[in-house]
């Protein structure tokens, strides 16, 4: 096991720079997820750790060793590819044993390691099968088995669940997390799915446009996103954003006035365009707040999501507001709800820079 340290890494394809100085430190045994919209450079960064892409500038170290000029096979890493990249002409056993065979490991060692990996992943009955004869989830497990037998310092996963159906994805998510807990190997995992990131990671790196937006524990990102991008990207359903400005000690958007988060002095930012962020579950039904017109009510049992419109406020992007209540809602579409935010957990961002203000 080892740490992975990424120091001011840049990547350019020709004259186009796609990574603009990324720095991330992965502690020993940690499960770190790189997440971001497609094209944000997360897969490129992972491939640079693996050695499949050159590092244009900066340094990547695995353990104490800078690996910029170390061949992929010498880096002591194992990677699971998005399409699994199983060798179609080899059986499950041969797929898993391939790296050991190339390293000229003795037969007993290969048998033992493949057997152990097959036991961990429940693949023992399928060792003689070819990849085509396996289901998607089984192929996924073989790809992980191929990584496990090498006993690497670092596991790299490149969107490993994106080819699976929704149900299997949830199941494999738990399996990968469980595997990490049992093996304790440092893991870097790439996904575009923020739920995957929230549920699996020790730490999340949110990337956007070749930059790191925020690096931290999942709930830290959820509770205190540093900017509008992270606030909108993390969380499902997404955070609601209302545009307006600070007037006196309240936030005002059109005719709607909302309380400022605690500890923020309104006088310092009077008149400045800001965005008021509030997560769906932080609205309260108290019968006296602002008026919201119900559009759609979606009961899930444990909570009820209400899609509504604020008649007087200006929203950012969306025109609709999503609220999630623990209470059951009896109002019909078209009727009015009175709601108010929990001021302790609302977020305020500068509209121009997107940076967090509270």
């Amino acid at each position: 096991m080892a740490t992975v340290s990424i120091r001011d890494v840049r990547k350019a394809f020709g004259s186009t720079e796609v990574l603009h100085g990324v720095s991330v430190d992965v502690a020993d045994g940690e499960f770190v997820i790189l997440v971001g919209p497609s094209g944000c450079g997360k897969s490129t960064l992972l491939r640079m750790i693996a050695g499949l892409e050159n590092i244009t500038r900066g340094a990547i170290a695995i353990g104490e060793r800078v690996v910029n000029n170390v061949a992929p096979k010498e880096r002591d890493i194992a990677m699971v590819f998005q399409n699994y990249a199983l060798y179609p002409h080899m059986t499950v056993r041969e797929n898993m044993a391939f790296s050991l065979m190339l390293a000229k490991a003795p037969k007993e060692v290969i048998e033992a390691k493949v057997g152990r990996a097959a036991d961990i992943l429940g693949l023992a009955p399928y060792l003689a099968r070819y990849p085509r004869q396996l289901s998607g989830g089984q192929r996924q497990r073989v790809a992980m088995g191929r990584a496990i037998v090498r006993d690497p310092q670092v596991f790299l996963f490149d969107e490993p669940l994106s080819n699976l159906d929704a149900k299997l994805r949830v199941q494999m998510r738990a399996e990968i997390k469980d595997l990490h807990q049992r093996l304790g190997t440092t893991t870097v995992y790439v996904t575009h799915d923020q739920i995957e990131a929230m549920t699996m990671a020790d730490k999340i790196v949110v990337m956007n446009g070749g930059n790191v937006e925020q690096f931290g524990a999942p709930l830290e990102l959820y509770d205190r996103p540093v900017n509008l991008f992270v606030a909108g990207f993390i969380g499902s359903p997404a955070m609601n954003f209302v545009r307006g400005q600070v007037e006196g000690e309240v936030f005002r958007s059109g005719a709607v006035a909302l309380p400022l988060p605690p500890g923020l002095r309104g006088a310092a930012m009077a008149g400045r365009p800001v965005v008021y962020g509030i997560r769906p579950e932080h609205w309260r039904l108290d019968g006296q707040g602002i008026a919201a017109t119900v559009q759609v009510v979606e009961p899930t049992g444990s909570e009820t999501q209400v899609i509504c419109t604020l008649s007087d406020a200006r929203m950012l992007g969306e025109t609709r507001m999503i609220c999630a209540f623990r209470e059951r809602i009896t109002e019909r579409p078209g009727q009015e709800l009175r709601i108010s935010p929990d001021p302790a957990v609302v977020h305020l961002f500068d509209e121009a820079s997107g940076a967090r203000l509270n």
Binding site: A50, G51, L52, P72, K73, I77, A78, M79, F81, Q82, N83, Y84, A85, Y87, P88, H89, M90, F98, S99, L102, A103, Y130, P131, R132, Q133, G136, R139, R146, R150, N163
Partner: protein
């Protein structure tokens, strides 16, 4: 008849309608046009050729059935034996060289090299030029007086004192023909193998790279097994084309010197048309059939889906 007594009944269909409802009749009538065309344009010429092989037909004279006499004569005919031997040698050597060079070229073109698409187009040139035209070009290249190869060797490099007699002696002529065939056949092999190489997912090579494979090991364990199914198809076609080659040899040497470069196809033509012995020429052509069937069977078994190719492909 008022409405209350009306009972639905259907008139018994006519015999024609019943005939067209008959499954077997329908199948026969639907198959007839296609089967008729095949019979007329495929089976008849082939059948006629085979029938001629068992007769003593000459141009301008109807033949009589003479059984295996043509074949009995041919196995004692030194020229025919040489032609059979030449055909096998020509096919074997040219195929091996074409595949070695073609695969090498395909591997090169599969790499990221500058002007890749232009190079791929250039590779195809020998295949685009009509065979007879390239044969004439080779005839000049091999000419005892005007050969550019001889000119370069003698007058430019001064490696030799005399011009090379490419087509004047049996072995030199055979190798010269093989070189021309290889030149002409490489594009087909290279382009089809390149297409095969491109079906191999690049992530397999990346996985192999991480698994610690060297360049040779990637070729040995990834490229060659995954290329094998396509290689078998290309090899079969290449063998069939080379075995039945006629144009190059007939245009460059006409089977000479002293019948030493005849292939079975050129000898068959030589005997049948200029020699007027239609029966004997047909017999030579028919003698090629077992070889061709063997090549086809080989491909049939080599091409049968390998075990790893079976199963669904839902990735």
């Amino acid at each position: 008849m008022d409405a209350s007594t009306w009972a639905p009944s259907r008139a018994r269909p006519s015999w024609l309608a019943r005939l067209f409802d008959n499954r077997i009749f329908l199948i026969c009538i639907c198959l007839f046009p296609a089967a008729g065309l095949l019979l007329a344009f495929l089976t008849y010429p082939l059948g006629l050729g085979i029938w001629l092989a068992f007769t003593d037909t000459q141009i301008g004279r109807n033949g009589h059935w003479i059984g295996l006499e043509n074949f009995q004569y041919l196995i004692t005919d030194r020229v025919f034996i040489t032609a059979v031997w030449n055909t096998m040698f020509y096919t074997a050597v040219a195929t091996v060289i074409k595949f070695a060079l073609g695969l090498w070229l395909a591997l090169l073109l599969n790499e990221h090299i500058p002007f890749k698409s232009v190079l791929r187009a250039i590779i195809l040139l020998p295949y685009i030029v009509p065979t007879v035209l390239s044969a004439i070009a080779f005839w000049w290249i091999y000419d005892p007086q005007f050969s550019i190869i001889s000119y370069v060797l003698v007058n430019v490099l001064h490696w030799r004192d005399t011009y090379v007699d490419f087509l004047g002696t049996p072995w030199a002529a055979r190798w010269s023909l093989i070189a021309a065939n290889v030149w002409r056949g490489i594009p087909f092999v290279a382009i089809t193998l390149l297409a095969g190489l491109q079906t191999i997912s690049p992530s397999l090579y990346e996985a192999a790279l991480l698994d610690g494979a060297t360049g040779w090991q990637k070729f040995r364990y990834i490229t060659s097994p995954l290329l094998m199914p396509i290689l078998a198809i290309v090899m079969t076609f290449s063998v069939l084309f080379t075995f039945t080659d006629f144009q190059l040899v007939y245009a460059i040497t006409r089977g000479g010197p002293i019948n030493s470069t005849h292939l079975m196809a050129t000898l068959a033509f030589q005997r049948a048309i200029p020699g007027a012995q239609l029966g004997e020429g047909s017999a030579i052509a028919v003698a090629m059939i077992p070889f061709l069937i063997f090549a086809t069977l080989f491909s049939y078994f080599a091409l049968s889906r390998r075990k790893w190719q079976q199963g669904s492909d839902n990735d």
